[in-house]
């Protein structure tokens, strides 16, 4: 991942985290990825995500939040979630 002033970038899209919510992508685009850490487990002295909820969302502000969800999934770790999320976002933004 490249680090720019103002935040992290991953494959050309920004990553923003607040607590257990991570947004991947930009509100200026039509779609954005929301990742929510639902559960964690201890791995040595680290607490790592063990259950992660992933959503592809529309960014249209006129839509109600529940109508923004295009699709969703549950994944076993953060890497898988960001990996899948990046594919979903790339495909959605390219119109597939």
């Amino acid at each position: 991942m490249a680090e720019q002033k103002g935040g992290l970038m991953y494959k050309g899209h920004p990553l923003r985290r607040k607590g257990n919510l991570i947004y991947y992508g930009s509100m200026a685009d039509k779609y954005i990825i929301m990742i929510q850490v639902m559960g964690t487990q201890q791995d040595g002295d680290l607490e790592i995500a063990s259950k992660v909820h992933l959503q592809l969302q529309l960014t249209d502000p006129d839509l109600k939040s529940r109508d923004r969800v295009v699709k969703k999934s549950d994944l076993p770790d953060l890497f898988s979630a960001i990996d899948m999320g990046s594919i979903w976002l790339m495909r959605a933004l390219s119109g597939k």
Partner: protein, 475 residues
């Protein structure tokens, strides 16, 4: 019921269960399993509602007796026979030796839509599997009236003879001596030697020509052996200090001409020598002939999914070797695993090509080929055929086999894993509920269901991409 009488009754019931489970025809082991759970129950039946007979701790070894339906194995553990869940066993089936047994046996075809395979010759024996209509079986036992002992892939047991259509008995069970003039004559094994290479990851070396002989050693993949004789599909070999017998199925013979004692290879005039390719039989039963044409005599029969090495091509016929079998087969019934169907000849490309050739096969829960599959059984079968054994259950494959790759790096042959909570019976303790194999162009092949069988589906942008949990590459 007072306490003493209750204990007596429980003892009688336990003894009865033990007798019931150990009575009847004892099944030979078809492989070994290693427990991957912290503690795995041995149950009296293939259902979670049945009684627990014992607990096998992590890394315990169990003997696999049969593949039962519905994701269970019949096993032997600590002197008891029962059933264990396939999802918590890392299974290594000795299918090589089972396949070796089938060579030379009488063949038959299932005529019923679904035929039960039982542990003994009668309806009173437990069901250990099932076979679909059209499945080919090898007849291992004809001594029980109305029942055949059969072997079909890794399924071994007894079926009603009423539903088996027997093939005419082959004229010969061994290749004709003059079909392979470069093979050493059986009467002079000591004077003709040939080199070969081990193709299995680990190949047992035995004290005699059969699985009933004790193991005297093992050879790793790629090891060179000197073949000093051949008996019924087994080679007498030496390799360094090891001397014994190995299954010919897992020896790749070196071309003649590398050995100073052997004549140069030239099977028939006019055959085109090409770089050896690998192929797979894509029809239920394929004749191997002594020459490139239907006018030549049959020397062997190969079943669907059998891997062959193609050593030449003449007028629509391939010169092939498959273990100890050499001859010619119609090219129409061979799917090339490297070359035209694979852009780079890699293992993954070969796996994808094999998966595509199996599209249309029926789905049977608990089956791992060669004619029917469940989701993880399809992947298990494909990579086993390619010499890369992987775990049996989808969660075990996810946890243990290969290495993870990211979604934007997937290549043909990569395993795709899914988790759909609607089909999760583990309470969320297992990471997957389904698996398939990526074949390129956003398509994957999977053993979908009993309705759709093995089929193509889109990976991203359709129903399945909401359930993807990861991708793994085997080689």
């Amino acid at each position: 019921m007072n306490l003493k009488r209750s204990r007596v009754v429980k003892g009688i019931v336990a003894a009865g269960l033990t007798v019931a489970l150990t009575s009847g025809i004892a099944l030979a082991s078809i492989g070994t399993g290693t427990v991957t759970a912290s503690s795995l129950r041995l149950r009296s039946e293939a259902t979670v509602q049945s009684a627990t007979l014992a607990y096998a701790p992590y890394s315990s070894q169990v003997s696999i007796l049969a593949e039962a339906a519905d994701g269970w194995y019949k096993v032997s553990y600590d002197g008891l026979e029962g059933y264990m869940s396939a999802d918590w066993l890392d299974v290594e089936l000795t299918g090589a030796e089972a396949d070796q047994e089938a060579a030379g046996l009488r063949q038959g075809t299932v005529t019923a839509d679904v035929l039960n395979v039982r542990s003994g010759p009668g309806t009173g024996y437990s069901k250990v599997g099932s076979l679909q209509k059209g499945a080919t079986v090898s007849i291992t036992d004809e001594s029980h009236a109305g029942w055949y002992g059969i072997l079909s892939g890794s399924v071994k047991g007894y079926v009603s003879a009423e539903y088996i259509d027997l093939a005419p008995a082959p004229e010969t069970e061994d290749p004709q001596p003059d079909a392979s003039p470069e093979e050493p004559p059986e009467t002079e094994p000591e004077t003709e030697t040939r080199q070969g290479t081990v193709t299995a990851d680990v190949l047992n070396v035995r004290s005699g020509a059969g699985t009933g002989y004790s193991k005297v050693g093992s050879l790793q993949k790629g090891a060179t052996v000197t073949i000093t004789g051949e008996t019924n599909g087994w080679y007498a070999i030496t390799s360094g200090s090891i001397e014994g017998y190995v299954s010919a199925e897992y020896i790749d013979l070196a071309p003649l001409g590398g050995s100073s004692n052997a004549p140069a290879a030239d099977e028939t005039p006019g055959s085109d020598e090409t770089e050896p390719q690998r192929g797979m039989v894509n029809t239920s039963a394929l004749n191997v002939r002594s020459g490139p044409g239907t006018g030549y005599s049959k020397v062997a029969l190969l079943s669907r999914g059998t891997s062959v090495t193609i050593t030449g091509e003449t007028d629509g016929w391939y010169a092939i070797t498959a273990g100890s079998i050499e001859g010619y087969v119609s090219a129409e019934y061979i799917t090339i695993l490297d070359g035209s169907n694979a852009s780079d000849g890699s293992v993954g490309a070969a796996a994808a090509a094999m998966a595509k050739s199996l599209v249309g096969s029926p789905y049977v829960y608990g089956a791992s080929g060669p004619y029917s599959f469940d989701c993880s059984g399809l992947l298990y079968y494909i990579y086993k055929q390619l010499g890369y054994p992987i775990a049996r259950g989808s969660s075990s494959q996810y946890n243990q086999s290969g290495y993870f790759v990211s979604a934007d790096e997937i290549q043909p042959g990569d395993l795709v894993f899914f988790f759909d909570p609607r089909y999760d019976s583990s309470g969320g303790t297992l990471p997957t509920t389904h698996a398939g194999i990526y074949v390129g162009n956003n398509q994957f092949v999977h053993a979908s269901s009993s309705i759709y069988g093995v089929r193509y589906d889109s990976l991203f942008g359709g129903y399945w991409d909401s359930y993807i949990v990861g991708f793994k590459r085997i080689a």
